[in-house]
Amino acid sequence: MKHIIGLGLAATFAATIVGAEAVKPTQVVFEDGAIAASLSGAAGDAENGAILMNKGSGNCIACHSVDALSDLPFHGEVGPPLDGVADRWSEAELRGIVADAKMMFDGTVMPSFYKTTGFTRLGDAYTGKAHADGEVQPLLTAQDIEDVVAFLVTLKEE
């Protein structure tokens, strides 16, 4: 346990010093499924987070409904509604769930948004072709994760 906390602190420390240096997907430290500090070293932007909930590699509402985003069409039912999610989970827990939900919910169907290894037949985005050699990008960047988390912490029920 101790060394995990140590690493976490080191990461925070590094982030504070270098500013924009993000924690790499392979270096993220989970504690009971949660991630203590910002992955990008910066604060999140809830407005951009709301956009990511709908678009691109986030597309969270494919599986979750969110009343706060009811102006957007077609919310999914595969995952639980996210209304009031900030009452149920802390910021650190939400960061852990968005980065790699499998650390919190064993075997969940929710994709891991900040993960780059361990895939079977990894493709090149949605082309159906194999991923070429070279670095694998996570579904969301460190800052994207922070933005989504910043949006999620606003989801309080009264």
């Binding site: 009343d67 009811s70 999914g76 039912e77 595969v78 169907v109 079977t120 493709g123 991923h131």
Partner: protein, 277 residues
Amino acid sequence: MNLKPWIAAAVIGMAGAAFAQDDSTLSIDGEDFVTETAAPAHLDNLSTIYSGWRFRTPETQALQIDDFDNPAMIFVDQGIDLFNAVDGTEGKSCASCHTGGPEEFAGLHAQMPKVVDGKLVVMEDLINTHRQEVMGAEPWKWSGADMQAMVALIGLQSRGMPMDVVIDGDAAPFWEKGKEIYYTRYGQLELSCSNCHEDNYGNMIRADHLSQGQINGFPTYRLKQAKLISRHNRFRGCIRDTRAETFAEGSDEFKALELYVASRANGLDIETPAVRQ
């Protein structure tokens, strides 16, 4: 909670059912179809299997209950023309040998894929083998219009018969391989067929109402693409959507998967050619 339009649509006709497939009965030209039945014994995680028709909107469903409205029937007609068309170096058509017409193939679709001489064979293989070896004609492309028109024509001869593929004996190793593929979580989204079609059928995934992913209606006419969609093309699409490298149409992997998926529909009536959104 504000009732979103798609929820409202899904709720119509449900009358408090536990899942979101509807209660409608499929009847084509006065003949009733089994769209819901007890799952075959080999299926551990489902107790009841449903045709994909039960998950579609009333508008899409309506297109399948009358052959005059079913847009796939144009392609079936083209299949009849192809059946009678001479092609290849031997100067033959399908009809030269199959003098009883496509009706000769009643019941065949229900048993496909099947193992012949140790090889797993699907309908497209049978068609191309006969084209090449008997007619001396060029093979058709797997998901090409001519191929799928012929698959649909032959499939239609078994419409209303229950799916009944063999999974033991020679077929067992292919079936096992297909099952393994079905439960493998592919791609960057790490999703298996079962994650969507077993764990979440009846749920909405964005704008799509998830069915059990059954193939008793294939080839299906897809309104979005305005043509007949082959089974392997559908498999490709679903695997591609997990951000994975797909398998090729006609590959051994997809043939094995087809056998396994077909076996999950054992007991459902064949609806070929079905209509989908």
